[in-house]
Symmetry: C2
Subunit: 157 residues, 2 copies
């Protein structure tokens, strides 16, 4: 059985996960990358090293995020978040970074890298020398769907 | 430690998984959806009910697929596949569908739905009455990255 998640089910899904897939577009060419995120109930926060996705997002702010729990092919929940990229600066960035790190990296070693980028080794070396950039998604729409296995039919006694 | 997957590691990752995230673009707006896929070493095959992603792909054939194995935030593999949407018809479709079903649904109940779409209930009802569409991705580029935990430093005896 398939159906749509309610608003509260979408909120629960977004709150319960820490990795999403982010899609963006560069002149009609799609790009997608898994990233860790923090959702404060209002915005989605993402920290990234400099690289292709940041270059694209600075040009085209439209973002589609997808978060899921896939237990099997016929038992899953999936939410879409549509929104706009907003790079954070100054005090807003400082406060958001503290909340982000507290949320996402509580159980992780300090050396952990928190993007799953797809750049060349040279780009990667450069990026590792640079400070991560924190941005958030101003959400414009959220949708969600689910599928559960069909319940077994009662047998005739 | 982060690095790039070799060609054979990318092939192994694509062969070992059955769910990917597909991103496409509709007039500068990204869209992303998890889908099951079958990779025959040459093309990526995907079956879908009619809906938003098919509408977009018929307009803009550019696709970015992302396949991963995420064990933790600092232990993961991720591959990108870039390519072009090709809708299948006739004998090509028949042969590909048999291989697809054999690959993806061997262990699944016949009633299982094999997309993770995000359309309205009315669209969903319509789609369930229609025959799934099989398409493939003509691959133009594959890339892959990994991250492993830093090895523990040897202690001084």
């Amino acid at each position: 059985m398939m159906g749509q998640l309610t608003s509260s089910e979408i909120e629960n899904l977004l709150q319960s996960q820490s990795i999403c897939r982010l899609a963006c577009c560069e002149k009609g060419l799609p790009y997608i990358v898994p990233v860790s995120y923090y959702y404060d109930g209002s915005h989605i926060y993402i920290q990234t090293l400099r690289g292709r996705k940041l270059d694209i997002l600075r040009q085209n702010h439209h973002v589609c995020l997808q978060v899921d729990q896939i237990l099997s092919m016929n038992q899953w929940k999936s939410a879409h978040v549509y929104g706009l990229f907003e790079e954070l600066k100054g005090e807003t960035e400082t406060a958001a970074r503290a909340a982000f790190i507290n949320s996402v990296y509580t159980l992780m070693a300090p050396s952990v890298t928190h993007t799953f980028g797809h750049d060349t080794q040279a780009q990667l070396d450069d990026r590792q020398r640079l400070k991560p950039v924190l941005f958030r998604i101003r959400i414009t729409q959220k949708t969600g769907r689910f599928e559960n296995p069909e319940p077994a039919k009662a047998s005739i006694p």
